[in-house]
């Protein structure tokens, strides 16, 4: 045996050397893999229910991702059917068409809950968030591509019919004290959809996921060794997809942004966007250009990003901090205001902006 090895010792040495090199290379690659340490994942980009939807799903059994993708679509479709004022058959559409002032109308338990929560935010924000602003948004028509300022007299007329004080929700149902009002879930629909998706995911064996529904982003679980999700926040004054900074959040959060850059038109250099002050009837013009809220409830992050945008920097930030949510306010002079403690989890990516000191 020894003689056999001795005879071919050159050959064996070469094999051993090559084997050692291959082993080192393999180990090096393996270590790199371990460092990245993420589950297998699949991304789905598409359009559904009139909005862009992107889902990245992390799980051990990658073959099941397609099934998860379809189940999320089903959840989104249900929410859209239930809540969209554009769906003529939804409870809310039927109500808007047929209710009489002063009457009490009952809805399915989900919708009753959303209506109650909307009115809560309405009173907490002193009317900055309005559940019944639809007649005003329809008059402006910015979401549908209108580029004209309505007549001031028409705006004043509509203001009479978007007063949330004329709205009451009790256990018996919803009552409107004015016959020309309309209820909609436009400001919170995507957040509610995000909440439903998170609930749906918790019943699966998905390890982690990040789901974007028209700009409202939900994070679920973890993707592996890195326990944070890194969420790019849109630069309000750059092209779409360019980030202002990156917000790190754990799983189970919903991130919503309201900005003057999403849908707008300009007349004589002045910007008219789709977020209205329910008190004036005109687009909010208070120096804010975007507000991002991240918290455990999509309903609240959606409602609060709109409310804080309307309330302005000082009142809005006070409200956000009283609720203990993450908040990023951006002003037209390119300053970024962060809620307490957020500077550790927000990384600025654009030198044109600076983080304002408190």
């Amino acid at each position: 045996m020894i003689r056999f090895l001795a005879k071919y010792r050159h050959f064996f040495t070469v094999i051993i050397v090559i084997g050692l090199i291959a082993g080192f290379v393999y180990l090096a690659l393996k270590t790199k893999d371990l460092k990245t340490g993420t589950y297998d994942n699949k991304t789905y980009s598409g359009i559904a229910f009139g909005t862009a939807i992107k889902k990245t799903i992390f799980m051990d059994n990658i073959d099941k991702c397609d099934e998860i993708d379809r189940s999320i679509d089903k959840i989104l479709k249900n929410v859209d059917d239930e809540l969209s004022y554009r769906n003529e058959a939804s409870e809310i559409s039927v109500f808007n068409r047929s209710y009489a002032a002063g009457g009490s109308y009952s809805f399915s338990p989900d919708i009753m809950l959303y209506l109650k929560k909307e009115l809560e935010v309405y009173s907490e924000t002193d009317g900055a968030f309005s559940p019944c602003i639809l007649p005003l948004s329809k008059l402006w028509g910015i979401e549908d591509g209108s580029t004209e300022i309505p007549k001031d007299s028409d705006i004043k007329e509509v203001l009479k019919h978007i007063d949330g004080d004329n709205m009451a929700v009790t256990d018996e149902g919803l009552t409107l004290n004015d016959g020309e009002m309309s209820i909609d879930f436009g400001a919170v629909g995507k957040g509610i959809a995000a909440d439903e998706v998170l609930t749906g995911l918790s019943k699966t064996d998905v390890s982690g996921a990040v789901i974007s529904v028209g700009g409202t982003i939900a994070t679920y679980g973890t993707k592996g060794a890195d326990s944070m999700w890194h969420i790019g926040i849109q630069d309000p004054r750059a092209v779409n997809g360019e980030v202002l900074g990156v917000l790190d959040v754990t799983g189970g959060k919903v991130i919503s942004t309201s900005g003057d850059y999403e849908k707008f038109f300009e007349v004589d250099g002045k910007r008219y966007h789709h977020i209205f002050d329910p008190k004036t009837g005109y687009p909010v013009d208070n120096g804010l250009i975007s507000v991002t809220i991240a918290t455990g409830s999509g309903f609240m992050s959606d409602a609060m990003s709109t409310a804080c945008f309307v309330m302005g920097l000082e009142d809005g930030m006070r409200y956000a901090e009283s609720k203990g949510v993450d908040a990023i306010f951006v002003t037209s002079d390119k300053k970024i205001y962060l809620s307490n403690g957020l500077n550790k989890r927000f990384n600025i990516r654009n030198d044109e902006y600076e983080i304002a000191k408190k």
Binding site: H10, V14, A22, T43, S45, I47, T56, S212, K263
Partner: protein, 126 residues
């Protein structure tokens, strides 16, 4: 142990040539695999039609959607963007060129989704 030590000392010129040759072949193979991966492709979905194009080959792609909507997608220098569109909101043409894995551009009115699939990892999750 004695044997192994002896072996190492007695490595001859020919052995080094063999080792070098094997390493060279392995190196070339690794480079080829990496080049293949760094390519990646662009996936374009218009309504229910999906087509893919290599991201490292420059080209212009005209897309006419089922609704008659028109978009011009450009692939150049390993990046992809929407150069022209007849949609109202202009969100797609006002989107930055994309080139990292799973970055996408969406034109809602024309039901167009442009998505990059490659191995350029993206630090951003959404």
């Amino acid at each position: 142990m004695k044997l192994l030590k002896n072996d190492f000392i007695s490595l001859k010129k020919g052995d080094f040539i063999i080792i070098a040759a094997v390493l060279l072949i392995a190196g070339i193979a690794v480079l080829l695999i990496m080049r293949q991966n760094s390519g990646g492709y662009v996936k374009i979905t218009s309504f229910s039609d999906t087509s893919t194009y290599p991201i490292n080959e420059d080209r212009n792609i005209e897309i006419i959607g089922d609704n008659g909507g028109h978009n011009l997608v450009v692939i150049s220098d390993g990046k992809v963007w929407v150069k022209e569109a007849d949609c109202k909101n202009r969100i797609c043409v006002n989107h930055k060129p994309v080139y990292k894995n799973h970055e996408s551009i969406v034109c809602l009115p024309n039901h167009l989704v442009v998505e990059v699939v490659n191995n350029k990892s993206n630090e951003i999750d959404n």
